[in-house]
Symmetry: C2
Subunit: 120 residues, 2 copies
Amino acid sequence: MAGASRRGPYICGIDAAMDVVSGKWKGLILWELNAHRVRRFAELRRGLNGVSEKMLTQHLREMEADGLVHREVYPEVPPRVEYSLTVHGRTLNQALAPLGAWGSERIQREGSEVVDAAGA
Amino acid sequence: MAGASRRGPYICGIDAAMDVVSGKWKGLILWELNAHRVRRFAELRRGLNGVSEKMLTQHLREMEADGLVHREVYPEVPPRVEYSLTVHGRTLNQALAPLGAWGSERIQREGSEVVDAAGA
DNA sequence: CAGGATCCCTTAGGATACTG
DNA sequence: CAGTATCCTAAGGGATCCTG
């Protein structure tokens, strides 16, 4: 599968986590599913403004394979599929929180000087 | 510049943080510099087994531009350059810690069943 | 509605050779 | 030693069309 996770031998935890999170929309999908608990395909598409059907499907499938997302199919017509986070998805979201905070701070001070506390 | 950070408008903190961390070796560089405090180019290369000179330079330059890494050049011969983390680099490392822990746990249970606590 | 299939473009990543 | 320059491949991402 194209774009699937490596699942290869990892050097460290960051490595393994990044492997699972890398992908243009995965962070947002996590965010969306965490905020709404349950979302349908079309709802997610609207939430992730600009994502193509292919990419959304692909990311969703990878995240499902990685055990982050649960996919519930209702055998109805018209078809209905609901996505939600698994417990792993939720713990990942929590682990991501500090990083999100760091990023937010970074956005705040965008443009200000960059400190240097290197060797000095 | 190829592979440079977007620095574009970010949707959320995760987005901004991921932008700065994405890159095959950045996590490891952060790790190396955090562990050793100061590293020379060749030392980093050895630490990051398999990285090419080009990629190491490229990543280092991007991280420098992002204010994560400090580059100290000693005008000697033979040339000597020392890399270290800035305070931003160190806080990023701290923000990354929970994610690293999550990834480590994930590696541990590799192969075990993937829980499903979705809609149920 | 949800998504599979296909084609195409852009980007990340890497090998190698050369230089201050 | 610490890069820079160049070339190449692989993977990520996306548009569009088609189907259960």
